[in-house]
């Protein structure tokens, strides 16, 4: 099988890579059992495809994200790049030294001192004893171990253990750094320090592969990303695009799971004297958006076409939560707006300056009707969706429907 040529700025290439695990259906633990089954021809194996025909390339200096559900093949892909696994078919090509932060501190021995473990771990990363001599002081300083360096590792806290692992793995800038959720290492100060180190590698041109469930981090740190789904590439594009496609799928899956509680969406009726030609949910920059954070600005834009002149129509909307709870139904009449004689095309905007809703999936209905609400011109029932996430962007309020933007205060009893 021939593969396309490598281009000069490639650092990692996967060409039609598949990884198959052969899983015995029942575990055969003894030779005797195996021999009997082998003679009877009863050894059945299932082929499990951890990765299925994956092709991608990562360029020099790129920060590349991997997202997908657990078991989608992210770890398998990292292991291929780290040479831990060899592909069943296809080609894996990597240029340069790979520093795997798959599990920092893997290979440490609890009975050995920090000093001894530094040399042992360094050797696992391919460094000689002399090379490690040169790094030793820097590693100890970065890991903030001080006098503990000559104590056995079993006396270390888990934070110290992790700090030492990170310090050894990242002392020398590798060509490729693999980061698997490690930024949760140690306390907050150390997390910042390790983040800074990764940033500086990035500035100096290292290629970084990141697996994270934190989509915010993927979106903000990575230029490109791949979304793996059941071992296949579901999307490979800019990080933003891949994250939003992934979120779209997560949302679909969730609403499917809602089953009975899910609303019957997407009906449209009305006599179309005024037609709502387009309804958009956007952010404050007029960009289409389906994911919001509590506190962000949400704008609903209704483009309409009045096929005949209509006096003082009313435009309105309704928001329902996915379980059917009607949250609110504002319209132009409640706001004491008289639109006057409407004809031809135009746009109605409804701006929510700071979204109070908490995490959840919401559906929007939009409508145009007459002033008395007896004649419906156009009604799009629960036709537009948006999702609110509660992580990131400062807000951590959860449980329930909405934030009240309340303010907590504390006064002690003694008025000294």
């Amino acid at each position: 099988m021939s593969f396309p040529p490598i281009s000069s700025d490639d650092i990692i290439r996967l060409d039609n890579v598949s990884v198959h695990y052969r899983v015995a259906q029942e575990r055969i633990g003894t030779l005797k059992e195996y021999a009997i089954r082998w003679l009877k021809g009863q050894i059945h194996r299932q082929n499990f495809r951890a990765l299925d025909n994956v092709s991608l390339d990562v360029k020099r200096g790129e920060v590349f994200g991997l997202i997908g559900k657990n078991g989608a093949g992210k770890s398998t892909l990292l292991k291929l790049v780290a040479r831990v696994l060899r592909p069943t078919t296809g080609r894996v090509w990597v240029k340069g030294r790979v520093a795997p932060l798959l599990e920092v501190g893997a290979g440490f021995h609890p009975e050995l001192t920090g000093r001894e473990n530094i040399y042992l771990n360094g050797a696992m990363l391919g460094f000689t004893r002399r090379e490690m001599d040169a790094k030793f002081e820097r590693i100890v300083a970065f890991a903030e171990l001080g006098d503990f360096i000559d104590a056995p590792l079993r006396t270390y806290s888990s934070g110290m253990w992790a700090r030492l692992g990170f310090a050894v793995a990242t002392d020398t800038q590798p060509e490729v750094l693999i980061v698997d959720e490690v930024l949760s290492v140690g306390d907050e100060a150390f997390q910042r320090k390790s983040y800074e180190r990764i940033q500086s590698f990035r500035e100096q041109g290292a290629t970084i592969l990141i697996v994270s469930h934190n989509l915010d981090a993927i979106e903000s740190m990575c230029q490109r990303a791949v979304w793996l789904d059941h071992g296949k590439v579901a999307a490979l594009d800019s990080a933003q695009s891949v994250v939003s496609q992934y979120q779209g799928r997560v949302r679909e899956d969730e609403s499917e799971r809602m089953g009975q509680a899910q609303l019957d969406t997407g009906h449209r009726w009305g006599n179309r004297k005024i037609e709502i030609t387009r309804a958009r949910i956007t952010n404050s920059q007029n960009e289409d958006e389906s994911i919001f954070y509590t506190g962000q600005t949400l704008v609903l834009r209704l483009e309409y076409m009045a096929h005949q002149p209509v006096q003082s129509p009313v435009f309105g909307m309704a928001i329902h939560r996915n379980d059917g709870l009607h949250i609110t139904g504002p319209n132009t009449a409640f706001a004491n707006m008289d639109l006057g004689l409407v004809q031809g095309s135009g746009e109605i905007m409804y701006t929510v300056p700071a979204l109070a809703l908490l995490e959840g999936l919401y559906h929007i209905s939009v409508a145009a009707a007459d002033r008395e609400d007896t004649e419906i011109y156009d009604y799009h029932h629960l036709a537009y969706d948006f999702r609110v996430l509660n992580y990131g962007h400062g807000n951590v309020e959860k449980y329930g429907l909405a934030t009240l933007n309340g303010i907590w205060q504390h006064t002690t009893g003694s008025q000294g």
Partner: protein, 278 residues
């Protein structure tokens, strides 16, 4: 960035024969194997007061027990030098049984590391041999001591000991690799092997002179037992104090090389699968 060494390129489709590739990788990771030996030696007796001295005291203690049990109870033919005869054989046997067991157990239980980081698959077996070799060299101290005490003369031929050690190491490494490769698929082998070792030890003239074997069985027990040849060869330069003849070298050297080559080929032919299995 480290500019001293050329940028390594890994291409999963470009590969030489796995057995040769492994040799190359072992050379590249030689520092790791030394560090693993260091780890094994350091951690083994780390918490004990006498530390590494146990490497020498252990076989000495075993020898004392056996000398009393066997020379006084079972076999009364031996003189004082029988202790030296026994210890000499025992050291070779202990090396064999410990390194083959360690090669297998370290690989099966420590192999989880292979999920996380790349290293040559034979590292564990090689480190086990290295650790065993250090213990074997250290055990020369009590060996020579016992020879002096029991009046067994030390000859110049003792200088050949490193060579017979090497034969023993190569043979044990081959057996260890074979065991490790099979134990990945059938972990029960680990337990079974301990029983096999017991029987094998009694079938090898270690704690008794080979002359006491009934002549009807002697041929089978000696000629078909690889460890008979290896233990015997190991005793020649030290205990017997002479140079081995070609006829004594040949079976051991051929066995060692043969088993090593087979072990290496079998082990490396499966090397891509271990990370999936361990």
């Amino acid at each position: 960035m480290d500019t001293s060494s050329p940028v390594p390129i890994y291409d999963s489709t470009r590969r030489i024969h796995p057995a040769l590739e492994e040799l190359h990788e072992v050379f590249r990771f030689r520092h790791l194997i030394l560090q693993l030996v260091r780890r094994d030696v350091l951690t083994r007796y780390k918490r004990s007061f006498l530390g590494i001295a146990w490497t020498m005291l252990n076989p000495l203690g075993m020898m004392l027990v056996w000398t009393i049990a066997f020379s006084q109870v079972f076999y009364r033919g031996g003189g004082a030098d029988f202790a030296a005869y026994m210890l000499n054989g025992l050291l070779a046997w202990l090396f064999f049984s410990q390194t083959t067991t360690a090669a297998m157990v370290n690989f099966v239980w420590g192999g989880g590391l292979l999920h996380r980081i790349y290293m040559p698959r034979t590292s564990f077996a090689l480190a086990a041999s290295g650790t065993g070799l250090i213990n074997l060299v250290l055990s020369l101290v009590p060996m020579v001591g016992v020879m002096l005490v029991t009046g067994v003369p030390l000859h110049w031929s003792a200088l050949l000991t490193p060579l017979v050690m090497l034969v023993l190491v190569i043979f044990s490494l081959g057996v260890g690799l074979l065991l490790a490769a099979f134990a990945v698929y059938f972990p029960d082998i680990i337990e079974m092997y301990q029983i096999v070792l017991q029987a094998w030890m009694f079938l090898t003239p270690i704690m008794y002179p080979e002359e006491i074997l009934p002549s009807a069985y002697r041929f089978w027990v000696t000629q078909l037992n690889p460890m008979y040849h290896l233990v015997r060869l190991y005793r020649i330069p030290l205990y017997y104090g002479r140079l081995p003849t070609v006829g004594e070298w040949l079976p051991s050297v051929l066995l060692a090389l043969g088993v090593f080559v087979i072990g290496w080929l079998v082990f490396t032919s499966k090397s891509d699968e271990y990370a999936y299995r361990l």
